[in-house]
Amino acid sequence: MARRKTKIKFFTIADYEEEERWLEEEHRNGWRLVKLIPPVFFIFEETKPEDYIYKLDYKNKEMPNDYFQMFKDYGWEYCGYSLGWNCFRKAASQVRAEEEGEIFSDDESKLDMIKYLMLTRLLPLLIIFFAVLVPGIGRLRLTEGFIVILSFIIYVLAGVLYIYVFVRVGLRLWQMRNKINNKS
Protein backbone atom coordinates (compact mmCIF):
# COMPACT_ATOMS: atom_id res chain seq x y z
CA MET A 1 0.00 0.00 0.00
CA ALA A 2 1.16 3.49 -0.86
CA ARG A 3 2.49 5.71 1.86
CA ARG A 4 0.07 8.27 3.27
CA LYS A 5 0.45 11.58 5.04
CA THR A 6 -1.92 13.96 6.74
CA LYS A 7 -1.48 17.68 6.57
CA ILE A 8 -3.26 20.33 8.57
CA LYS A 9 -3.80 23.60 6.78
CA PHE A 10 -6.28 26.39 7.26
CA PHE A 11 -7.80 28.25 4.35
CA THR A 12 -10.54 30.85 4.69
CA ILE A 13 -13.48 30.89 2.26
CA ALA A 14 -11.66 33.62 0.32
CA ASP A 15 -8.49 31.54 -0.14
CA TYR A 16 -9.81 28.82 -2.42
CA GLU A 17 -7.49 29.77 -5.28
CA GLU A 18 -4.47 29.49 -2.96
CA GLU A 19 -5.79 26.13 -1.81
CA GLU A 20 -6.01 24.93 -5.43
CA ARG A 21 -2.41 26.02 -6.12
CA TRP A 22 -1.22 24.30 -2.93
CA LEU A 23 -2.92 21.01 -3.89
CA GLU A 24 -1.31 21.25 -7.35
CA GLU A 25 2.09 21.73 -5.75
CA GLU A 26 1.58 18.68 -3.52
CA HIS A 27 0.71 16.60 -6.58
CA ARG A 28 3.78 17.90 -8.43
CA ASN A 29 5.82 16.73 -5.46
CA GLY A 30 4.29 13.26 -5.64
CA TRP A 31 1.38 13.57 -3.20
CA ARG A 32 -2.12 12.94 -4.49
CA LEU A 33 -5.09 14.18 -2.45
CA VAL A 34 -7.25 11.22 -1.38
CA LYS A 35 -9.54 12.71 1.22
CA LEU A 36 -10.62 15.92 2.87
CA ILE A 37 -11.66 15.75 6.50
CA PRO A 38 -13.37 18.87 7.88
CA PRO A 39 -12.34 21.30 9.02
CA VAL A 40 -8.62 21.39 8.18
CA PHE A 41 -7.26 17.90 7.41
CA PHE A 42 -5.88 16.83 4.05
CA ILE A 43 -5.00 13.15 3.48
CA PHE A 44 -2.46 12.51 0.72
CA GLU A 45 -1.14 9.32 -0.83
CA GLU A 46 2.26 8.93 -2.45
CA THR A 47 2.02 8.93 -6.24
CA LYS A 48 3.99 9.68 -9.39
CA PRO A 49 4.92 13.38 -9.40
CA GLU A 50 2.72 14.94 -12.09
CA ASP A 51 1.17 18.21 -13.20
CA TYR A 52 -2.49 18.24 -12.20
CA ILE A 53 -5.05 21.03 -12.13
CA TYR A 54 -7.15 21.24 -8.96
CA LYS A 55 -10.44 23.15 -8.78
CA LEU A 56 -12.81 23.87 -5.93
CA ASP A 57 -16.52 24.46 -6.44
CA TYR A 58 -18.57 25.88 -3.57
CA LYS A 59 -22.08 24.44 -3.39
CA ASN A 60 -22.84 24.38 0.36
CA LYS A 61 -25.08 21.35 0.04
CA GLU A 62 -24.94 17.74 -1.00
CA MET A 63 -25.15 17.66 -4.78
CA PRO A 64 -27.18 15.18 -6.84
CA ASN A 65 -25.60 12.53 -9.08
CA ASP A 66 -25.99 14.51 -12.29
CA TYR A 67 -23.65 17.20 -10.92
CA PHE A 68 -20.79 14.73 -10.44
CA GLN A 69 -21.61 13.02 -13.74
CA MET A 70 -21.25 16.32 -15.60
CA PHE A 71 -17.81 17.00 -14.18
CA LYS A 72 -16.84 13.42 -14.97
CA ASP A 73 -18.04 13.83 -18.57
CA TYR A 74 -15.84 16.91 -18.83
CA GLY A 75 -12.86 14.85 -17.67
CA TRP A 76 -12.72 16.04 -14.04
CA GLU A 77 -12.03 13.48 -11.33
CA TYR A 78 -13.87 14.05 -8.05
CA CYS A 79 -11.48 13.99 -5.12
CA GLY A 80 -13.29 15.10 -1.99
CA TYR A 81 -15.79 17.25 -0.13
CA SER A 82 -15.37 19.45 2.89
CA LEU A 83 -17.56 22.18 4.39
CA GLY A 84 -19.52 22.93 1.25
CA TRP A 85 -16.59 22.62 -1.16
CA ASN A 86 -16.29 19.96 -3.87
CA CYS A 87 -12.77 19.25 -5.08
CA PHE A 88 -11.98 18.14 -8.64
CA ARG A 89 -8.75 17.48 -10.54
CA LYS A 90 -7.62 16.87 -14.09
CA ALA A 91 -4.20 15.88 -15.47
CA ALA A 92 -2.57 18.87 -17.16
CA SER A 93 -1.61 16.54 -20.03
CA GLN A 94 -5.33 16.12 -20.81
CA VAL A 95 -5.85 19.84 -21.24
CA ARG A 96 -5.45 20.79 -24.89
CA ALA A 97 -6.81 24.32 -24.67
CA GLU A 98 -6.60 26.66 -21.70
CA GLU A 99 -10.41 26.69 -21.25
CA GLU A 100 -10.45 22.95 -20.65
CA GLY A 101 -8.52 23.57 -17.44
CA GLU A 102 -11.29 25.79 -16.05
CA ILE A 103 -14.60 24.82 -14.49
CA PHE A 104 -16.06 28.30 -14.97
CA SER A 105 -15.92 29.70 -18.47
CA ASP A 106 -17.44 33.14 -17.95
CA ASP A 107 -17.25 35.96 -15.42
CA GLU A 108 -20.92 35.69 -14.55
CA SER A 109 -20.53 32.20 -13.10
CA LYS A 110 -17.34 33.14 -11.23
CA LEU A 111 -19.19 36.09 -9.68
CA ASP A 112 -22.17 33.90 -8.85
CA MET A 113 -19.95 31.67 -6.71
CA ILE A 114 -18.46 34.65 -4.85
CA LYS A 115 -21.93 36.13 -4.25
CA TYR A 116 -23.16 32.74 -3.02
CA LEU A 117 -20.20 32.53 -0.62
CA MET A 118 -20.98 36.00 0.76
CA LEU A 119 -24.65 35.17 1.19
CA THR A 120 -24.27 31.76 2.82
CA ARG A 121 -21.06 32.22 4.83
CA LEU A 122 -20.40 35.89 5.45
CA LEU A 123 -23.96 37.05 6.12
CA PRO A 124 -24.70 34.33 8.76
CA LEU A 125 -21.47 35.32 10.54
CA LEU A 126 -22.70 38.90 10.72
CA ILE A 127 -26.08 37.83 12.05
CA ILE A 128 -24.50 35.58 14.72
CA PHE A 129 -22.25 38.46 15.71
CA PHE A 130 -25.09 40.86 16.37
CA ALA A 131 -27.53 38.28 17.70
CA VAL A 132 -25.19 36.40 20.09
CA LEU A 133 -21.91 38.14 20.83
CA VAL A 134 -23.12 41.72 21.19
CA PRO A 135 -26.11 40.97 23.51
CA GLY A 136 -23.82 38.58 25.47
CA ILE A 137 -21.53 41.46 26.44
CA GLY A 138 -24.51 43.49 27.58
CA ARG A 139 -25.78 40.70 29.85
CA LEU A 140 -22.38 40.26 31.50
CA ARG A 141 -22.54 43.63 33.19
CA LEU A 142 -25.53 42.57 35.31
CA THR A 143 -23.38 40.46 37.64
CA GLU A 144 -19.91 40.95 39.11
CA GLY A 145 -16.80 39.04 40.10
CA PHE A 146 -13.71 37.37 38.72
CA ILE A 147 -15.55 34.95 36.41
CA VAL A 148 -17.37 37.88 34.86
CA ILE A 149 -14.15 39.74 34.17
CA LEU A 150 -12.64 36.59 32.67
CA SER A 151 -15.69 35.98 30.49
CA PHE A 152 -15.62 39.62 29.50
CA ILE A 153 -12.01 39.31 28.33
CA ILE A 154 -12.81 36.13 26.41
CA TYR A 155 -15.79 37.85 24.84
CA VAL A 156 -13.75 40.84 23.76
CA LEU A 157 -10.97 38.63 22.37
CA ALA A 158 -13.51 36.51 20.47
CA GLY A 159 -15.14 39.68 19.20
CA VAL A 160 -11.86 41.17 17.99
CA LEU A 161 -10.86 37.90 16.28
CA TYR A 162 -14.30 37.71 14.77
CA ILE A 163 -14.17 41.22 13.36
CA TYR A 164 -10.64 40.60 12.05
CA VAL A 165 -11.62 37.40 10.18
CA PHE A 166 -14.83 38.96 8.95
CA VAL A 167 -13.20 42.11 7.59
CA ARG A 168 -10.30 40.22 6.04
CA VAL A 169 -12.46 37.62 4.31
CA GLY A 170 -15.07 40.18 3.33
CA LEU A 171 -12.48 42.53 1.82
CA ARG A 172 -10.79 39.68 -0.04
CA LEU A 173 -14.05 38.48 -1.60
CA TRP A 174 -14.95 42.06 -2.44
CA GLN A 175 -11.61 42.57 -4.19
CA MET A 176 -11.97 39.31 -6.13
CA ARG A 177 -15.43 40.44 -7.20
CA ASN A 178 -14.16 43.85 -8.34
CA LYS A 179 -11.25 42.29 -10.20
CA ILE A 180 -13.65 40.22 -12.29
CA ASN A 181 -16.04 43.16 -12.75
CA ASN A 182 -13.34 45.56 -13.90
CA LYS A 183 -11.86 43.12 -16.35
CA SER A 184 -15.06 42.87 -18.36
Binding site: K55, D57, N65, D66, Y67, F68, Q69, M70, F71, D73, Y74, W76, A97, E99, E100, E102, I103, F104, S105, D106, E108, S109, D112, M113
Partner: protein, 107 residues
Protein backbone atom coordinates in the same frame (compact mmCIF):
# COMPACT_ATOMS: atom_id res chain seq x y z
CA UNK B 1 -42.66 37.05 -20.03
CA UNK B 2 -42.25 39.08 -16.83
CA UNK B 3 -39.95 42.02 -16.28
CA UNK B 4 -37.40 40.13 -14.18
CA UNK B 5 -36.80 37.52 -16.88
CA UNK B 6 -36.48 40.27 -19.48
CA UNK B 7 -33.79 41.93 -17.39
CA UNK B 8 -31.82 38.70 -17.04
CA UNK B 9 -32.23 37.19 -20.48
CA UNK B 10 -32.71 40.09 -22.91
CA UNK B 11 -29.97 40.44 -23.96
CA UNK B 12 -28.45 37.24 -22.61
CA UNK B 13 -24.85 36.09 -22.22
CA UNK B 14 -23.18 34.11 -24.97
CA UNK B 15 -23.20 31.05 -22.68
CA UNK B 16 -26.93 31.34 -22.05
CA UNK B 17 -27.66 31.94 -25.73
CA UNK B 18 -25.84 28.84 -26.93
CA UNK B 19 -27.37 26.66 -24.23
CA UNK B 20 -30.90 27.82 -24.98
CA UNK B 21 -30.25 27.60 -28.73
CA UNK B 22 -29.06 23.97 -28.42
CA UNK B 23 -32.02 23.08 -26.22
CA UNK B 24 -34.48 23.48 -29.06
CA UNK B 25 -33.69 19.75 -29.17
CA UNK B 26 -33.50 17.62 -26.01
CA UNK B 27 -29.92 17.32 -24.78
CA UNK B 28 -27.80 16.91 -21.60
CA UNK B 29 -25.19 19.37 -20.33
CA UNK B 30 -22.05 17.73 -21.64
CA UNK B 31 -23.75 17.13 -25.02
CA UNK B 32 -24.57 20.85 -25.23
CA UNK B 33 -20.95 21.68 -24.43
CA UNK B 34 -19.69 19.43 -27.22
CA UNK B 35 -22.23 20.81 -29.73
CA UNK B 36 -21.22 24.40 -28.91
CA UNK B 37 -17.53 23.58 -29.34
CA UNK B 38 -18.28 22.10 -32.73
CA UNK B 39 -20.55 24.95 -33.88
CA UNK B 40 -17.97 27.57 -32.94
CA UNK B 41 -14.86 25.64 -34.04
CA UNK B 42 -13.63 25.44 -30.43
CA UNK B 43 -13.94 29.20 -29.97
CA UNK B 44 -16.67 28.99 -27.33
CA UNK B 45 -16.16 26.59 -24.43
CA UNK B 46 -18.62 26.23 -21.57
CA UNK B 47 -17.05 24.75 -18.43
CA UNK B 48 -18.93 22.23 -16.26
CA UNK B 49 -19.43 24.64 -13.36
CA UNK B 50 -20.86 27.28 -15.67
CA UNK B 51 -22.97 24.70 -17.54
CA UNK B 52 -24.44 23.21 -14.37
CA UNK B 53 -25.20 26.62 -12.87
CA UNK B 54 -26.79 28.01 -16.04
CA UNK B 55 -28.96 24.93 -16.57
CA UNK B 56 -30.15 25.07 -12.94
CA UNK B 57 -30.98 28.77 -13.24
CA UNK B 58 -32.82 28.34 -16.54
CA UNK B 59 -34.82 25.43 -15.16
CA UNK B 60 -35.80 27.49 -12.11
CA UNK B 61 -36.82 30.40 -14.36
CA UNK B 62 -38.92 28.07 -16.49
CA UNK B 63 -36.97 28.52 -19.75
CA UNK B 64 -36.11 24.83 -19.93
CA UNK B 65 -37.55 21.72 -18.36
CA UNK B 66 -36.28 18.29 -17.44
CA UNK B 67 -37.52 15.71 -19.93
CA UNK B 68 -35.57 12.64 -18.86
CA UNK B 69 -32.65 11.33 -16.83
CA UNK B 70 -30.43 8.78 -18.51
CA UNK B 71 -27.41 7.27 -16.75
CA UNK B 72 -27.21 10.13 -14.20
CA UNK B 73 -27.39 12.74 -16.96
CA UNK B 74 -30.31 15.15 -16.86
CA UNK B 75 -31.81 15.81 -20.28
CA UNK B 76 -33.44 19.21 -20.79
CA UNK B 77 -35.48 20.88 -23.49
CA UNK B 78 -36.58 24.50 -24.02
CA UNK B 79 -40.12 25.28 -22.85
CA UNK B 80 -42.54 27.56 -24.74
CA UNK B 81 -41.34 30.43 -22.58
CA UNK B 82 -37.73 29.50 -23.41
CA UNK B 83 -38.50 29.45 -27.12
CA UNK B 84 -40.25 32.82 -26.86
CA UNK B 85 -37.20 34.37 -25.20
CA UNK B 86 -34.86 32.73 -27.71
CA UNK B 87 -36.95 34.22 -30.54
CA UNK B 88 -36.56 37.73 -29.05
CA UNK B 89 -32.80 37.21 -28.84
CA UNK B 90 -32.55 35.83 -32.36
CA UNK B 91 -34.38 38.87 -33.70
CA UNK B 92 -32.03 41.21 -31.83
CA UNK B 93 -28.96 39.36 -33.07
CA UNK B 94 -30.24 39.32 -36.68
CA UNK B 95 -30.79 43.09 -36.50
CA UNK B 96 -27.31 43.53 -35.05
CA UNK B 97 -25.82 41.39 -37.79
CA UNK B 98 -27.64 43.14 -40.64
CA UNK B 99 -26.72 46.61 -39.40
CA UNK B 100 -23.11 45.70 -38.62
CA UNK B 101 -22.53 44.33 -42.10
CA UNK B 102 -23.97 47.39 -43.84
CA UNK B 103 -27.31 45.84 -44.77
CA UNK B 104 -30.67 47.50 -44.44
CA UNK B 105 -32.83 46.33 -41.58
CA UNK B 106 -36.49 46.12 -42.52
CA UNK B 107 -37.97 45.01 -39.18
Amino acid sequence: MDERLGRIYVPMSETAFYILFCLQEAQHGYGIGQAVKEMTRDEVTIGPGTMYGTLSKMEKDGLISLVNEVEKRKIYKATDLGKEILEIELKRIRRLYINSTGGEYNG
